[in-house]
Amino acid sequence: MKRKHRETLQGYIFVTPSIIVSSIFLGIGALFVLFLSFHHVNLLTNNYRFIGFDNYIRALNDPMLHRAIRNTLTFSAVVVPTQTFLALVVAAVLNSKIRFKKTFRSIVFLPTLTSSAALTMIFMFMFNIRGPINQALLGMGFLAEGGNINFLQSTTWAMPVIMIMNIWSTVPFYMTLYLASLQELPKSMYEAAEIDGATEVRKFFHITIPYLRPITVYVILTGVIGTLQMFDQAFIFSDGDGGPANATLTITLLVYRYAMGPANAMGYAAMIAMTLMVFILTIAFIVNRLNKEERLY
């Protein structure tokens, strides 16, 4: 009996810190977003005024928000398929019978270790008007002398540069997931197919692709959730304002601007965050459902 009590006590002592921290900063945080989204907040006077659905209605006529949504969705639509495809290709190459695999794998993994701040600085340097990329383009004759592209201040180029940067930095991580999965693919499956006279192409489409389905779903879902919340790189790139001319304004960056900027619209910012959260959770839920149903067969 005494031992049982001790075990219970130890259990509570061991889980309490985790429960407290995660309920405050995740649980209460999420409820607080919901609460704030129905309020007008004045931080200086510490005044929260209930305004019903006004924040939500206001969103319908906010060109800035629509711009941020468009930017973010475009970003996701370009980055997720590209990073998934490249990750698969690199993993397939690394899984083939080549030498120096370990060296290649170590090199390819480096971007994953780099902080978004250092990474963004490096890319801004590379793409600056007199930087290495412009020099290389001039050198190869793609640009006329003096025709340097001002990537960082160009409304056309700013977002693509962030996309390239993001893809460059996320491919290694997803590649490693694919590689781990490929290495566990049972060889017997290929051998059986070879006996049946299957060609390389058939093997790839009928064995490898179906085998990689669950991991691909995971990679795409993680990619979508990540890109929908893109913040750091756009923030650093534009020094927090989503410029030039809102070209790099993402949803979370707009949340930040409304909440912390001169607009002082915390409630409205919370409404945007709340809607994004619901959107992300819905996608995750639907994907998990579909994936589970598939597995029954």
Binding site: K4, R6, T8, Q10, G11, Y12, F14, V15, P17, I19, V21, S22, S23, I24, G27, I28, G29, A30, F32, V33, L36, V90, V93, L94, K97, I98, F100, S106, I107, V108, L110, P111, L113, T114, S115, S116, A117, A118, M121, I122, F125, N128, R130, Q135, W168, A180, I215, Y218, Q229, D232, F235, D239, T252, V255, Y256, A259, A273, M277, I280, L281
Partner: protein, 276 residues
Amino acid sequence: MVKKIKPMRIILYLIMILISFTTLYPFLWMIAASFMPLREIVGGSMRLISPYMSLDNYLFIFGVASDFPRWFLNSMIVALIGTIANLFLNTMAGYALSRLEFPGRQQVYYALLALIMIPGQVLLVPNFLLINALGMLDSHTALVVPVMVNIGFIFLMRQFFINFPSECEEAAYIDGLGRITCFFRICMPLARTAIATQAVFVFMSFWNEFTRPMLYIRTRALFTLPFGLQSFQSRDGGQMWHQVMAAATITVLPVVILYFVFNKYFMIGIRMDGDK
């Protein structure tokens, strides 16, 4: 058949070299620029190797006039304290959820399972207000406390202890060791691979964290490296690429060293992530 394979191999090597080159290219420029004087960099004809290379930029960022050494120290302190807190708290919670019988255990597990779903960036506004209300604004506490536990790693440790035989602990109880002593003296050392895996990833996420310091820290002397790096750039107005690149190199270096020294644990960690 043999003849068919060879050109295929060469193509694979070429692809691999191309990928490695693409990966290394930005790092090479970062390192090169970190040794160059600014006029070389903005001159428009910079090469990766040049006779003008020197350690001047490094001497500057580590010099007396610079906040950089302080930011480095801040980053190190925050990352180390945060990592140690995570290791203990996650392991304790994971252990309790797998090995200990107590009322409400299942409910705690389900609650954590729900909380892990909440996307982090979305909580920027409420967490700012919470940190403000708790009086933690503009302190390193704000950088550690909200992330001193990690539900993902709690689950990882839970899984570890589920798969791990409990004979050692039982033997220790018989020898008269107390439950808590037993956990710290027997269980934690036995779980060292799982704990080391946690450690490298947690340290890396603290070291690289940008958003939290940017939101919570106002005093320049309290900045950590990633936010400091950004302010290096914007505050000094002009494009001080030479110093920024030296600072970036130093920022990247500790994690790269960690990666090569503890490579095994990085690989274990990623494999676990894919198993989710």
